[in-house]
């Protein structure tokens, strides 16, 4: 599904990714763990095409397409979704209008007619129940006045609406209490199909108790320095990152 080769990227003058190689097959869940500043968020932002990040070398292909040649919105239409670490507030744009624009833009890109208003509202209702998000949040502006937990749940709701094939969960666990974490993780698990792949970025093992990864990578100083099975996450939870750094 996703193949990253020798990826270098920077923000401003600062090089953050220094040669990432990563391949994720259909249906696989990969976790990326690493210390602060290692480049985890840069990697996810580069995959989705945040214009603030500049790729200086390397390639990313997504289902055979050259991802780096595509705009942010084209990548979304191709099925890439990122659950933001800090979801953005958009005052004055209602959740309903926001979702309608997003859903219909994707349909248009796929050559489908826009959803009729009644069908759209029905879809909203269904997905809202699936991720247990309150109706009253839907009448508000996007993320405005949402609690931390509500924002994260709203990310999963948007994922449910857009039905992506590749999801990035960028520190979805940060700022969540255990109950909220469980609800969000269960929401994600309910949504995924056998073909859905995901990249789960986290500091802690905690989230991985709910979303079981097939592969765990450790990212330090812009490079993937270790790749192993799910047991690696447990070892990091118990022993931290120092032993890996000391091996370098």
């Amino acid at each position: 599904m996703l193949a990253i080769k020798n990826l270098h990227a920077r923000v401003g003058e600062k090089e953050i990714l220094k040669g990432i190689d990563l391949t994720i097959a259909d249906g696989e869940i990969h976790a990326i763990m690493g210390t602060n500043g290692a480049g985890k968020s840069t990697l996810s932002n580069v995959i989705v095409g945040n214009p603030a990040y500049e790729v200086t070398e390397g390639s990313i292909t997504f289902n055979g397409q050259d991802l780096l040649a595509m705009s942010t919105e084209e990548r979304a239409h191709a099925g890439i979704f990122m659950s933001f670490q800090a979801p953005i507030e958009i005052p004055g744009v209602s959740m309903t209008n926001f979702m309608r624009a997003a859903v219909n833009a994707r349909r248009k890109a796929l050559g489908k007619e826009p959803l009729k208003s009644t069908d759209f509202l029905k879809l909203m209702r269904e997905k809202r129940k699936l991720v247990e998000i309150d109706q009253r949040l839907m009448n508000r502006s996007v993320n405005e006045g949402f609690s931390g937990g509500e924002r994260k749940r709203n990310e999963i709701f948007q994922m449910a609406m857009l039905e992506p094939t590749f999801c990035i969960l960028d520190e979805t666990d940060s700022g969540l209490d255990v109950d909220a974490l469980r609800i969000v993780a269960e929401g994600f698990n309910r949504l995924r199909t056998a073909e859905t792949s995901a990249l789960v970025i986290t500091h802690y093992q905690r989230l991985l108790d709910y979303i079981k990864p097939d592969v765990v990578h450790v990212l330090i100083d812009g490079r993937i320095v270790m790749t192993d099975g799910p047991e690696l996450a447990l070892k990091i939870e118990n022993e931290g990152f120092d032993w890996i750094k000391n091996m370098q």
Binding site: S71, T72, E73, F81, G92, F98, A101
Partner: protein, 409 residues
């Protein structure tokens, strides 16, 4: 170089007899004095505080023909030509207007008739009063418009003024001067809306003067959707205690549009409230200006006043000038002012694009959202809904034709 006022002085000398003949005593009574004031004032220059952002002289320099055709007014219970008013207007006409403003003086000298909205004591028209100004014709024309709004005690009214440009050959342009005088008596309530949808060939100079008496409430909304050069001045005087004034405005600029809103809220009496919210979204090479002064007299204790000007420049070559001012001579008042000029929120744009919303659409949604709260404050639902649609279409760049009027069909 010949000053641009010279041609207007010559014009007046040439046609003042004709104007007087077509006009009425109440307007003629002040005409010559206004002309003399104009001749000695000349057009304001950019050195004058209230005209810093608009080059008046340049706008009046072209040689326009002047229109003296009779007004097309459907008289009703509340609307009359000033020339056949049901009440004596000598205590109102040109009495709220500022005699030291050259554009007001020129308008007073050249205008031959105007519209009177008169609502008797404790009366209120069932539906909003609509005034449509259409700029059309095959010759470049100067129009001088005059509107007098008088609400007697306890009266209520909503007045909507639509300014529309029309299809015309590209070499034709229009210059409009407008003076509106508003007298709101005790306990009266007026909602006055002005919606401009003209085009790049139109220049507009509008001066609105409001006198609000005790317990009256005045709301003025100025909406500039499309235009060429627009200069709106609004002076509101709170002359009786517990009067309340709201001035709201929104401006959408693109291409070479120029829009300058200049307000003065003058708290004369104590215990009054005023509120201003002006928002601009500027694209292309458009220029926006907002200068708003709140003047609180020594006796205007317990004044409460809020002034906000928020602006979004969505292109690097758009320019916004913002100048909020407070001048307070009373010591027990609550006055706030704030001004912001910002660019599009890049993180919100990225968030929307990640969800698949194309950049153009995302920008449109953000601009719409920015304007939303000015429109939300409009109490008249039908107008509010219509403006939401118009604004969205405007941001989408869709030209709008009105569905109802005979000229569009």
């Amino acid at each position: 170089m010949e000053r641009s006022e010279q041609q207007y002085i010559e014009l007046y000398n040439e046609i003042s007899a004709l104007i007087k003949q077509k006009s009425c005593p109440v307007m003629n009574a002040v005409r010559d004095d206004a002309f003399r004031a104009f001749s000695s004032l000349g057009f304001p220059t950019r050195k004058q505080e209230r005209y810093r952002y608009t080059d008046v002289s340049a706008a009046f320099a072209p040689n326009y023909g002047i229109s003296l055709s009779p007004l097309d007014i459907t008289e009703s219970q509340y609307i009359f030509p000033i020339s056949s008013a049901p009440v004596d207007l000598s205590g109102y006409y040109n009495k709220a207007a500022d005699p030291s403003d050259a554009i007001t003086a020129l308008n007073t000298a050249l205008v031959h008739d105007g519209i009177l909205v008169y609502v008797p004591r404790n009366d209120s028209p069932e539906s909003p009063i609509q005034i449509d100004n259409r700029l059309l014709g095959n010759l470049s024309t100067m129009l001088n418009r005059r509107l007098l709004i008088i609400l007697e005690s306890g009266a209520q009214a909503t007045v909507i003024i639509n300014d529309k440009g029309w299809e015309h050959t590209p070499d034709v342009s229009f210059l409009t001067t407008q003076v509106i005088e508003v007298f709101c008596k005790e306990n009266s309530s007026l909602d006055l809306y002005e919606v401009e949808e003209t085009d790049q060939s139109c220049s507009r100079f509008s001066n609105v003067y409001i006198q609000a008496e005790r317990y009256s409430s005045v709301r003025h909304n100025s909406i500039t959707l499309t235009n060429g050069l627009t200069r709106n001045l609004c002076d509101a005087h709170l002359i009786g205690e517990f009067a309340n004034i709201v001035l709201n405005g929104c401006v959408i600029g693109s291409d070479e549009q120029h829009t300058d809103n200049n307000t003065l809220i003058h708290h004369v009496a104590p215990d009054c409230q005023s509120e201003q919210l002006y928002k601009y979204v500027l694209d292309g090479n458009s220029v926006g200006a907002f200068a708003g002064k709140i003047l609180v007299d020594k006796d205007a204790q317990k004044t409460s006043s809020q002034e906000t000007n928020a602006n979004l420049c969505s292109s690097p070559s758009a320019r916004m000038y913002s100048q909020p001012m407070l001048e307070i001579y009373a010591d027990d008042v609550k006055c706030n002012h704030g001004s912001t000029v910002g660019v599009m929120d890049e993180s919100a744009l990225f968030y929307m694009r990640q969800r698949g919303i194309p950049e153009v659409e995302a920008r449109m949604l953000l601009k719409n959202a920015f304007m939303g709260d000015v429109i939300d404050k409009i109490p008249l639902r039908s107008l509010r809904d219509r403006l939401f649609v118009k604004i969205e279409k405007r941001f989408r760049g869709e030209a709008e034709k009105c569905d109802t009027c005979r000229l569009c069909k």
